[in-house]
Amino acid sequence: MNMIQAINSAMDIMMERDPDVIVMGEDVGYFGGVFRATAGLQAKHGKTRVFDTPITECGIIGVAVGMGAYGLRPVPEIQFADYIYPALDQLVSEAARLRYRSAGEFTSPITVRSPFGGGIFGGQTHSQSPEGLFTHMSGIKTVIPSTPYDAKGLLIAAIEDNDPTLFFEPKRIYNGPFDGYWDRPSQNWSKHPAGAVPTGYYKIELGKAKIVRAGEALTILAYGTMVHVCTAVVAEAGIDAEIIDLRTLVPLDIETIEASVKKTGRCMIVHEATRTSGFGAELSAIVQERCFYHLEAPIERVTGFDTPYPHSLEWAYFPGPVRIGEALKKIMKDA
């Protein structure tokens, strides 16, 4: 399966297992979603469980919160993460706070799916990575898969989870892993081991990272598309890096991170999102606090620049092989 199919399968299975799961969003119904993630679901599960919504993101999330309070388990889609901002109030002030402010009387067991990230010539409003806005807000979980296998297992876990969860889907790798070489032909998931996705139910626990490549020379913390870019760059540079795919940003798998950095003594953080106050800043602070005496070099952050996401200059902005490669040299300088 590619990642779209895996995500589709997760929703299909959850709708079969739990009559309270419903899917809603702009164009998700009859049409099956602009990325086809919900294709066939309405025909199979009916219009009252999979339906199109008006174009109002605050409405989509506000309505989902109300449905959650009733007892449903909504899986709303925000067409692009760049368009999640109108829903910010409902996500941050409502979904994330409902359990706390009502002492558990009401909860928001909603899973918000949204394609995110760049690398597709999406320009300013089809490329953003706003995860740092949400990891900053207490009461909400943030999940970002990097393979079809993980996407399905994590999405099933997110839907079953009783807390509000943001599920950001790196759209650059919907169809295949992306190594950052935009000028080379892209791969397809069918040739990747993680493209082998069981058709049935399984889940991957939230809050658990995955060591994608074990190594001794340094630790690379990444998620989403960047996992694949880092893997390619490391292979090319012939460096024995340990690459960790965080998979869940909140709650974070601190044990895996800490053990790795203490072993390698070096830590590089890679994300597409802009740098200042990005999630990398939190990771860097955590690693500094916990692994200070093990660090042999300053922590490196390779991130998007603090600019809006550009169109024609995309590959200068994107933390691709060039930028990661230079950062690798820098962090390994005295090794």
Partner: protein, 435 residues
């Protein structure tokens, strides 16, 4: 490069009238004599009562008039008279009076430093209380902070409400919420949010869920007229009309949003009920100080919702007789004469006069009831204060601060909790020192 457009080379003002920006201004400011003669109050009994299955497109007239049942002499007149039994009328009157007594006592408790904050619903008692009587107990309410009358009309414990106001040991919300931001699931009262109008789309979602499940329950929601300007208002009405959600939207037009008069929400140009027209939602404008009109409109809207005819928007035309909250002094921005000059009077007095008019009540019983209710509230307050008041020590265990962020506490919160406890105990736990 010279433009060829004929106006391109004109200086502002040349041959053209200058534009002017309109900034709304209320009729009366502090010190002004109040005359509400311009407020259009149609006679009671005049508005027609359509069928609950009527098409929304035909409601324009009702969105610009006022549904009124009680006339100036205390008679119930016209097609909207819900013809309630004297018994129900007396119970409704009692709930309204109890709400007023509760507000009075809690407002004073704040002034006495027993809690940090309070908000009254003075003059708006009919809006929440009469609606509660017209809805089923099982229907879900998504209130704003000024519908404590729903809880009182549903017979909820005053002590429990006060415990929340005092953030004391028995506070059902564990001291996590600002006073009056109640949450009572058992009484169909959704957790109040400080963020205005977020409850509007949530109510629609709840109603849609009820419909999708083939349930029979409906949802009702409330916001102030000032809050209708929020984007959530628009998205809620759009969703509700699209899916014909079984929901009742209430707009409590009490003329003021803190210091801003209703003109800043658009009232100079139209009514709030008229908002419904463009969305294809049935719209009613109701005398919000007429408990019978509020009851009748709510009952009508509930029937419309229950029969899958979709949502109704009700504007309750009323007046916020008190300051916005205990933190507000209305004397700074409006004339002191306004509350008394308000042409729709006092909702409690009007229902009382009606009951007297039909021979089912008298001044003596009313005075006795007021006394009894004051005693009831006082007794509840005494009971609640046994569980502590805000400002006299801390009533919740420190570590509970971290409870309920997530269903299960993740490591980082456990770590922060431990850090807090360590720091507190190292410092000698100043919180535990009694004043």
């Amino acid at each position: 490069m010279a433009s060829e457009h004929p106006r391109a080379n004109l200086q502002p003002g040349q041959n053209l009238p200058r534009l002017a920006l309109h900034i709304p201004e209320p009729k009366f400011r502090p010190g002004d004599a109040v005359d509400f003669a311009e407020v259009d109050v149609p006679p009671a009994g005049e508005a027609r009562r359509p069928d609950t299955a009527d098409k929304a497109s035909g409601f324009t007239d009702l969105a610009y008039t006022l549904v009124r049942v009680l006339d100036d002499d205390g008679n119930a007149v016209g097609p909207w008279d819900p013809k309630l039994s004297p018994d129900v009328l007396r119970r409704m009157l009692r709930s309204m009076a109890l709400l007023r007594a509760f507000d009075e006592r809690m407002f004073r408790a704040q002034r006495q430093g027993k809690t940090s904050f309070y908000m009254k619903a003075l003059g708006e008692e009919a809006v929440a209380v009469a609606a509660a009587y017209a809805l089923d107990y099982e229907d879900m309410c998504f209130p704003s902070y000024r519908q404590q009358g729903l809880l009182i009309a549903r017979g909820w414990s005053l002590v429990d409400m006060m415990n929340q106001i005092y953030s004391n040991t028995a506070d059902r919300l564990g001291g996590k919420q600002l006073p009056i931001m109640y949450s009572v699931k058992e009484a169909g009262f959704f957790s109040i949010s400080g963020n205005l109008t977020t409850q509007y789309p949530q109510a629609v979602g709840w109603a849609m869920a009820s419909a999708a499940k083939g349930d029979t329950r409906i949802a009702a929601t409330w916001c102030g007229e000032g809050s209708t300007a929020e984007g959530d208002f628009h998205s809620a009405l759009t969703f509700a009309t699209v899916y014909r959600a079984p929901v009742i939207f209430n707009i409590v037009n009490n003329q003021w949003a803190i210091s801003s008069f209703s003109g800043f929400a658009g009232a100079e140009a139209t009514t709030f009920a008229a908002r419904a027209v463009g969305y294809g939602i049935a719209g009613l404008r109701v005398d919000g100080n007429d408990a019978l009109a509020v009851y009748a409109a709510t009952q009508w809207a509930a029937e419309r919702a229950r029969t899958n005819q979709g949502p109704t928007l009700i504007e309750h035309f009323t007046y916020r007789a008190e300051g916005h909250s205990t933190s507000d002094d209305p004397g700074q921005y409006r004339s002191e004469g306004e509350p008394n000059a308000w042409p729709l009077g006092d909702p409690i007095k009007r229902l009382k006069d009606h009951l007297i008019q039909i021979g089912e009540w008298d001044e003596e019983r009313h005075a006795a009831q007021d006394k009894e209710l004051a005693e009831q509230v006082k007794a509840a307050q005494k009971e609640a204060e046994k569980n502590g008041i805000l400002g006299h020590g801390l009533h919740q265990p420190l570590e509970s601060l971290f409870d309920g962020v997530f269903e299960e506490m993740p490591w980082h919160l456990k770590e922060q909790r431990q850090q807090m406890l360590d720091e507190e105990s190292a410092s000698g736990r100043p919180w535990d020192r009694k004043a």
